[in-house]
Homo-oligomer: 470 residues x 3
C-alpha cells in the first residue's frame, strides 16, 4: 500500500495499520542504515520552523539526509517574508513549488492543516501551537512498542503539563487508539484540555473514570491519580472496582510507562500564577521511582527537560528518553519515505480495523460563529483574507462544534433556519440552541450564532424560544 502524497497533520491521519507498517519500516531502516542512502535521492524537503527548535528540526533533517534526500530550511521565520504580512497559504503554495515535501512547525494551532491544504505536496506537522505534534507521538509509541512489544492494555501515566503539551495530545490519541489504559495524575492548572478528553470519549469511544480524592490510608501507597481512561477494548474489570480497589490493583500490576512532560512555560500567560506552577511542578527522581509500582516502569520524556526529571536517573535502565530521541531518526525516515512514495508497505486488514473514525458533518457557513481559540490559525489577520472558519458538528444536544483547524470545541447558544425567506420575513427568527428547534430545523438549513448580537446583525429577531429554562 502506498501512502504517497498524503500528509501527516494529526496522528489520526494515519490508521493503526499504517502506524504498525511504518514501525516495521523504521525497524528495517534502523537495522540497515547504510542501505537507505538512495531511497529519497533527488528529493528535497523544506523544513519551515516558525518557532525555535533544535531537536525536532535536526532530527527531521538528519532523517532526510540519511535517505539520500536534500534539505532546504527556513528557521525562526518570524523575521522573514511572513513578517511582511504574507499568509501561510501563499507561503505553502510557493514552497510547494520548490520542494517535494514540507515539514512545518508553527505557533498557531491549525497552521499545519493550512499548509497541507495549499502546498500541493505532502506536509508533516512538526508541532502547531498547543494542538498536535504527531511525529513525536510516533517516536514515543515506537519506543514503548519496542520495549513492550504491544501497546494494548499497558498502563501509561502522563505526568506534568497536559494543557500545552502538544506532543502529549497526539500521544494520548494514539494510546487510546492502540488500546492503552491512560492514567492521569493530578496536574492542577495544567489539566488535559477539554477538547482532548472529549475526543477520547466521543471519537475513540472509551471511558474516562474520574477518581475521588484518595483517602489518607491509600495516599502515600500509590501514585495519586485523578482519572483513568479505558479504551473500549480494555478489560472493564478495573472500571467496575471502587476507587480504592483500583489503586490497589494498579499498585499490584505496576505502571508500564511514566511519560513526563516539562512545563511549557513559553505557552503559559506570564502571570503570577506561572510562578507557582514552576515552583510546585512535580519532579521524577530516584526517590519517586523506588515505589513498587515503578519497578518495571519505562521512564519517558520528549525532551528538553528542565527540572522535572532528575539527572540521577540518566544511568537507570528504566530511563528511555535518550533512546526515544534517537528513535526519532528512523521513525521520521520511514514516514518521509512513505509520504514521498519512495517506499510502500503491507497493511494487515485486522490491525487496521481497530478504530472506526467518525465522519462528522461539516458546518460551512461563513458567518455567525467563529472559533473561540485566539491562537487558532482561523483567527489570525493574515489568514482571514482567504480563510473562513469551518466546523464539524459533533453533537446537537448539546450543540457542539469542533473547529476543523485547531479542533477546539465550542457550544454556540443560538440557532436559526435559512428557511425563513419563503416570503415570510417574520420567520427570520433565532432560537436557543437548547430549544426543541435544534431537532426540527433541517440540517441543510441550520444557521448557528455565537451570540445574540451576531444573530441580530444578520437581521434575525429573537423567537420566544430564545431562552430555555434548564
Amino acid at each position: 500500500m502506498s501512502l504517497v502524497n498524503r500528509s501527516c497533520v494529526t496522528i489520526d491521519d494515519l490508521s493503526n495499520g499504517e502506524i504498525e507498517a511504518l514501525f516495521s519500516l523504521a525497524d528495517k531502516m534502523s537495522d540497515s542504515m547504510n542501505d537507505q542512502s538512495r531511497v529519497c535521492q533527488g528529493k528535497i524537503m523544506a523544513s519551515l520552523f516558525f518557532e525555535p527548535s533544535t531537536r525536532t528540526r535536526l532530527s527531521f533533517e538528519a532523517a532526510m539526509l540519511r535517505l539520500g534526500g536534500q534539505v532546504i530550511s527556513a528557521v525562526d521565520i518570524g523575521a522573514t517574508s511572513l513578517a511582511k504580512g504574507e499568509s501561510i497559504a501563499d507561503m505553502a503554495r510557493v514552497v510547494g513549488s520548490y520542494a517535494d515535501i514540507i515539514v512545518i512547525r508553527h505557533p498557531w494551532e491549525g497552521a499545519a492543516k493550512v499548509v497541507a491544504d495549499y502546498a500541493g505536496i505532502p506536509v508533516i506537522n512538526a508541532g502547531d501551537g498547543g494542538h498536535e505534534h504527531p511525529t513525536q507521538a510516533l517516536c514515543d509509541l515506537y519506543t514503548i512498542r519496542k520495549e513492550r512489544q504491544t501497546i494494548k492494555g499497558l498502563k501509561i501515566a502522563l505526568f506534568g503539563d497536559l494543557k500545552y503539551g502538544r506532543a502529549v495530545h497526539s500521544l494520548t490519541y494514539a494510546l487510546a487508539r492502540f488500546g492503552a489504559i491512560i492514567l492521569f495524575p493530578p496536574s492542577p492548572g495544567l489539566e488535559m484540555p477539554d477538547n482532548v478528553l472529549s475526543k477520547l470519549t466521543t471519537e475513540y469511544k472509551g471511558k474516562l473514570i474520574r477518581l475521588e480524592a484518595p483517602n489518607q490510608e491509600v495516599k502515600g501507597r500509590f501514585f495519586p491519580l485523578d482519572a483513568i481512561y479505558m479504551t473500549p477494548s480494555s478489560s472493564h474489570q478495573l472500571a467496575m472496582l471502587p476507587d480504592i480497589s483500583i489503586q490497589i490493583e494498579l499498585k499490584k500490576a505496576g505502571i508500564d510507562t511514566l511519560y513526563v512532560i516539562r512545563l511549557q512555560k513559553e505557552r503559559h500567560a506570564p502571570t503570577v500564577e506561572g510562578q507557582n506552577l514552576e515552583r510546585d511542578y512535580p519532579v521524577v527522581d530516584r526517590k519517586l521511582l523506588k515505589e513498587k509500582e515503578f519497578k518495571r516502569t519505562l521512564v519517558m520524556h520528549p525532551l528538553p527537560r528542565i527540572d522535572e526529571l532528575a539527572y540521577e536517573l540518566d544511568a537507570d535502565p528504566r530511563s528511555m528518553y535518550f533512546k526515544q530521541a534517537a528513535y526519532g531518526v528512523p521513525v521520521r525516515m520511514a514516514l518521509i519515505a512513505l509520504l514521498l512514495g519512495a517506499k510502500e508497505v503491507m497493511i494487515s486488514k485486522e490491525e487496521d480495523s481497530f478504530v472506526q473514525k467518525v465522519d462528522y458533518p461539516i458546518y460551512e457557513r461563513d458567518f455567525g460563529v467563529r472559533c473561540l481559540n485566539s491562537n487558532c490559525v482561523s483567527n489570525q489577520e493574515t489568514e482571514a483574507r482567504y480563510m473562513r472558519p469551518d466546523f464539524r458538528i459533533i453533537s446537537l444536544e448539546p450543540l457542539t462544534l469542533r473547529c476543523i483547524y485547531c479542533e477546539h470545541e465550542l457550544h454556540p447558544q443560538y440557532i436559526a433556519s435559512s428557511d425563513w425567506h419563503e416570503g415570510k420575513l417574520e420567520n427570520k427568527k433565532y432560537h436557543s440552541a437548547e430549544s426543541h428547534w435544534i431537532r426540527k430545523i433541517k440540517p441543510e438549513n441550520l444557521i448557528i450564532f455565537g451570540s445574540e448580537n451576531e444573530a441580530q446583525a444578520r437581521g434575525f429577531n429573537p423567537s420566544k424560544y430564545v431562552t430555555v429554562d434548564r
Copy 2:
C-alpha cells in the same frame, strides 16, 4: 558560448541573446528535472542573506540542490561577524575561497557589485537594497515569454510601489531591452526613481511619453496612466496620437500584463506619510479585472503579497503569480549552471544585437564628490576603509555622474582642471559646471566638486565663472 566565471549583478550583465539562451536552457531543465542531478555535482553555492528572505533564498537553494550541487548558507547575517565590523570585501574574499558561487542579498545598494569585485568566483545578486534584483526579473520575463512567446511590442503595466521595488527596476530594464511598451499608472509618492527613467531614455534610447491627466470623459473608461515608455523598436504610431486617442487605442488593444507590486513598507521611512501610502494603496481584484482592457491580461506579482492583490483572483486563469514563483527554480538552475560553466549555450547573433550597451567614461578621482545616496555601499563606514567612490560620466551638459555601485545619478555643481599646477598657482580655480569650461577642460584633467566647501578644502578658489545665470 560559455558564461563561466561571469557574475549577474544587474540585469544588464546578460545580453538579450544570453537571456534567450538561458530561457531555452531553463525550458529544457524544466522538462527533464530528474536528468539535472549531476550537472553541478561537487560544486558549492554560498547563500548569503543579509536581509530576511524565505522565498528567494529557498528558490536558489532548491535550484542548486536540483543540479546536484550543495549549499552553505548564512541567513540574517546582521548578527554575525559582519556585526563585528567586517567589510563586505573581506567577507567576499573569504567566502570566495570556500565556495564555487555566491548568491548575495544585502540591504545596501551596490553591495552585490562589491562582492562580485572581490570574491574571485561568480556572484549572483539576489537583491541589493532598492537597486536591482535581476533573477526576479528573469523569472518575470520568462513567465511572460512562456505565455506570450515574445516580449516585443507587449503592453505591460507596472502597478504599485515603483520607488523601492528593486525587482521592478531590473524588470523595467529588461522589458525596455526586449522592446515592450511599458505603461505607468499613477503612483503618487511611489514613482519610479529618476535614475531608472533616465537610464531608459539615455541608455536604452527609448522615449518616455508623459500623459496629461485624462479628462472626465475618458476617466473611468480606461485604466489611468501617467506615462508610457516606448522602445526604439516600438511602433511610433501610438507616440504620435494625442493622449485621449492613446488611451482609446490601448483600451482596444488591451493590456498584456499587469505587474502588481506590494508596498515596500520596510524601505519607506516610518512617517505619517507611510500610513497614508498604506491606506491609499491600489488593489487589484475581480472588479478591476472586469474591465475590457484586462480581458486577456496576465496578472503577475513577485510575491509576497499583502492586500494589493485579492485572494479571489487565485483561481482566475489570468493569474500567473504562483507559476511565476515556481519558474524561479528552473530559471535559477539555468543561470547557476551557466555561470559555473556546467552548461554552455548557443547564442544567435541577431538576438544579441538588440541593445548596444553604452560605455560611458569612468571618473576615478578619490576626492571632491561622493554618491548622494545614503544607502549606497560606498557611503558605509565599514566599506569606506578600502573603497573609493567611482562614477560614470553620463553627460557633460548638464553634468551628470552615475555611481558605479548604486547607479544613482548626481549633478555636481563645480568643476576645475588639474592643469593648474604648471607653476601657475593662481590657476587653481573652480568654475560652475554650467559654465563653458565644462567643454574646455581636457577630460583627463577634469576635477569635479560636489560643493564649494569641498573645492575650497582642496585649495581651489572660485573663478568668475563660479555662478552662471541660466
Copy 3:
C-alpha cells in the same frame, strides 16, 4: 594510525606527530580536491553555533560537503530549545544520536569538553568562550609551515588582544609545542591570561623572559617587546643576552610572523575602559612594515579584521590572511576525515616525541572549591544540575588547581584531611594551604576549601595552622 572517535577540544588533543600527519593529509586533499567527494559519503556533521559566526561555520560546512558528507546545522541557538533551559549535556546526547560528528561553538569556556564528554561521537571545538579554538590554530600553523617549511626556531610576534583571543591561546600552545620563539609586544589591559602563560612554563617547560622597558635609544629601532617565550628546544643563546642585545639580535634576524588579532570587543565588559582600548589599539600598516625586522615577515590575521590591519597591505606579498582563511577548508577536511575514521595516517615516532604531556592528578570532591571563572561552563545554572567541578592539581606549593573545563587556575587558601573521622571528631580541622600540612596529608585524603566559610559550612574548625606568616 587511526584517530577515529577522538575529539578535538583543545590543541593538546592532537600530538605533534598527529598534527604533522594531518597537515600532510590536508596537502594531499588540497591537491586533489575533486577526488575527495566520496571520503565521508553517508556521514552527517552537526554544526551547532551558539555564538554568531559566518566564516568558521561556513568553512567547516564547506569542508564536510567537499568530503561528500552532509550537514545539519543550528545557528544562533540562543533562541531555541536551549533557551527552554536545556543543558549542554542533554543537547549533546540527543544530537549525538542524529549525527556522526559535532562541531560546536559556545560562549561558555569548557562547553566543548562537555559536549565531547556526552555526545558519544567525535566533537570539534570551534571556539568555547575565551578558552580555545584549536582548528583556527591548526590553520595558522599550517599556513606558517607551508611558507616556512618548519615552525621550530621561528620568531613569531603575537600582536593585539591576547586576553580574549581564544584562537591565539590555542595557537600559542601549538607554537610552544613546535618549538617557536614567541614574542609578546606590550598590550596593556589585553595581556595573555595567566593560565596560558603558566601552562607554557609548567606544561611545555619553556622559559618566559620578561624584558625591561626598552631604553630610549633602542626604542624606535625595534618593535617594542614585553616578553619572549623560548621553548626548551630553542637556542638559549638569546636568553643569556641582556635585554638590549636581545632586541638588537632580533632586529638583525627579523620577525618571521606577525600575528595580528582584533580587539575582541564582544567579550570585554562594556566599560569606559573599553573605549580607550579601542582608541589606543595598535595598527599594522605599510608604515610599520617598512621597518627592517619585517622585511620577510608573514603578516597573519585570523579575520575578521576591523581597523588593526590596514587594507593597503592586502596586495603586499607578505600578507597571508586570505590564504590563511582559504586553508581552513583543506585543514578542516583532513581533521573531519581523520576523526570519522574515513582516513588514516602514518605518524613518525620522532615527530611525536617532542612534548611529553604531563598527567596531573585529578581532584574530584564535589564540594569546597569552585572554579572562579564566572564564564566557565561548570558555573552555569543549567549545567550545575549534573556536573560537578573537577580540577587538576598542578602543584602543591603553591597549591594550584586547574579547572578541567575552562583551564583557569586557582590558588585555594585552605586544606584539610578526610582522615578526621576515625572517632576523633576534634581532628576535623582546616589549615592554611601554605602550612606544612600540605605535604603531610595523604593525597587521597586531601580536602581543599576556597574559603573559611566553606570549610566551616562542612563542619571543619580552624587549626592553629590556619594563618601562616610568609
